[in-house]
């Protein structure tokens, strides 16, 4: 036995200048996670994000439930983006079981996914606003989000955790007269979010606080494996809706926004531009959608996979590419289910972004990563 302690218990040398600060896990500024920050005066020397406080064992839980009863618990990690987290799972199970989905169901799914993306981004924007001390930017998105929640409630019956996507289509058809109501509310929503530019995005106070802070270069963004808004803010044009179109995204005209700067201003602006694009996609989908037809293929109550098989599907969620790897061994339950979530992949960039920044810039840089702790911990 040696006198050396394991790395976690080793006594660290105390530096007179460096102070270690724990931000979280109960701190409202960090979410359900801890950021261990070492500061020299006002400047951050090193930072170590420490996720894992809300680990729920979603992947293990999925091994004990069949393909249908997995739906309600799989959407819990991101309740605001519940359609998008179910999307890869549903696409994967459809491929495992060999189901062909009706055309109308695919359009309904695209509409739901885009509405959910906007709902998520509005929630994120509200938090981003309040952590920069901009109370108006908390109140406006939280209120305007209601327009979209109302639409989702009309479609699925629930405000959050819709449990709307199932293998073989969607749970129910769009309510009568939905196209008209949706178009009216989406048009108003678009008008509202364009107003945010005057209050928030073109505001010189916001620009001076976020511009050139936490710069992630194009090479670093690719090397660290970031996805979604973080990657696109660094000048990489990579969107799964365009690169690997699923369902009916091929037939729709999608232009995902890209910015070159890579600072936290760009990272906070990309989701806002994404919302404008989502409104565009919803309008196109409403127009091109078949006016009638089936939206669900009837399945057995306990569908089974065909022998040993595995499938990996990924979609573009509100935060980036969200993948789901399902391994089936021919039983009613999946043998293994792995979620590859964008939040966890974007978090790795945090130590690189915060090095050399002022401590006051930490909230703006941290929230600009579009990080959702519960999703990262699964």
């Amino acid at each position: 036995m040696t006198n050396e302690l394991p790395p976690g218990l080793a006594i660290q040398k105390v530096d007179e200048r460096i102070m270690t600060l724990n931000v979280g896990p109960q701190h409202p500024g960090s979410g359900h996670m801890r950021i261990i920050v070492q500061i020299d005066g006002d400047y951050i020397v090193a930072c170590d994000p420490d996720p894992g406080y809300v680990h729920r064992g979603e992947e293990k839980m999925a091994e004990y439930r069949n393909y249908i009863t997995n739906i309600p618990h799989l959407e819990r990690p991101v309740i605001h983006d519940s359609c998008n987290i179910l999307y890869p799972y549903v696409l994967g199970v459809e491929e495992l079981l060999g189901i062909e989905v009706p055309e109308r169901a695919k359009y309904v799914r695209v509409i739901c996914a885009e509405l959910n993306r906007c709902i998520y981004i509005m929630y994120w924007l509200a938090i981003y606003g309040i952590f920069l001390g901009h109370s108006t930017m908390f109140m406006w998105p939280a209120g305007d989000r209601e327009l979209l929640i109302d639409l989702m409630e009309k479609i699925s019956g629930a405000r959050v955790t819709h449990a709307h996507f199932v293998p073989g289509g969607v749970r129910n058809d769009l309510p009568p007269n939905f196209e008209e109501v949706c178009l009216r509310q989406i048009n108003y929503f678009e008008k509202r979010i364009k107003e945010y530019a005057a209050v928030f995005y073109d505001n010189p106070i916001l620009i001076s606080r976020t511009e050139n802070t936490g710069v992630l270069s194009r090479e670093d963004a690719i090397r660290l494996g970031t996805t979604g808004s973080v990657l696109r803010a660094s000048g990489v044009d990579y969107d799964l809706r365009i690169k690997e179109p699923y369902d009916v995204y091929e037939e729709l005209d999608v232009h995902s926004p890209v910015m070159k700067e890579g600072d936290s201003y760009a990272r906070s602006k990309i989701p806002w531009l994404d919302m404008l694009e989502s409104c565009n996609i919803i309008k196109q989908a409403l127009q091109k959608m078949p006016k009638s037809g089936s939206v669900r293929v009837k399945l057995k109550p306990n569908p089974k996979g065909k022998g040993f098989d595995s499938v990996y599907k990924r979609v573009e969620s509100g935060r980036g590419s969200l993948g789901c790897h399902i391994v089936s061994d021919g039983k009613v339950e999946p043998y293994r289910l792995k979620l590859s979530v964008p939040s966890f992949r974007n978090l790795i960039a945090l130590p690189y972004l915060l090095k050399g920044e002022k401590l006051g810039n930490m909230p703006s840089v941290y929230w600009s990563l579009n990080y959702w702790p519960v999703e990262a911990d699964r």
Binding site: R65, E153, P176, N203
Partner: protein
């Protein structure tokens, strides 16, 4: 400097415009949001549900056969549904068992409604289910039979001056 000045003036201008707009907030206990349809219902013939609010369930005693499919559907989700013996004075089915739902556990996913092949179970728009005791959240088949009365009439109205909850 001019950029800063115009930026602040634009922001203020946009804020001032909101003095004239109506309040968007829904005054919840007095006003309730109107909803499409009756409740979440499922058509076993086509395999498709009918959109509706996912509130507490309603059980049609004359349709329920006691087949336990709802209870099986709930097994991996919340285990909220238990099949209980129906008292003799009430309407009986073949097995004389009917679902009893514990709303302390229910997650309102609606999979039990999808599982019912006899149109016996569907969800209503009653979502105010609070109780002082845990037992008060357990709804027996007799309680589930009662059709709830919920007055919901507000909806989002969009005008030139902005959106309000009417």
């Amino acid at each position: 400097m001019t950029n800063t000045a115009t930026g602040i003036i634009r922001a203020l201008n946009s804020g001032i415009k909101h003095i004239a707009t109506k309040r968007f907030t829904l005054r919840y206990p007095e006003e309730k949001l109107k909803f499409v349809g009756d409740g979440y219902q499922y058509d076993p013939a086509t395999g498709v549900g009918i959109a509706g609010l996912k509130g507490r369930h309603m059980l049609f005693h004359d349709h329920c056969t006691g087949c336990q499919l709802c209870s099986i559907a709930c097994e991996g989700v919340a285990e909220a549904i238990a099949m209980v013996k129906v008292p003799e004075e009430q309407k009986q089915n073949k097995k004389s068992i009917m679902p009893q739902i514990d709303y302390g556990k229910c997650v309102f996913c609606g999979l039990c409604v999808d599982a019912c092949p006899f149109y016996a179970l569907y969800m209503t728009n009653d979502y105010e289910l609070s109780s002082f005791t845990k037992e008060g959240l357990i709804y027996t088949p007799a309680q589930l039979q009662v059709k709830p009365y919920v007055a919901q009439d507000s909806e989002i109205i969009i005008t030139k001056w902005g959106a309000t909850h009417g």
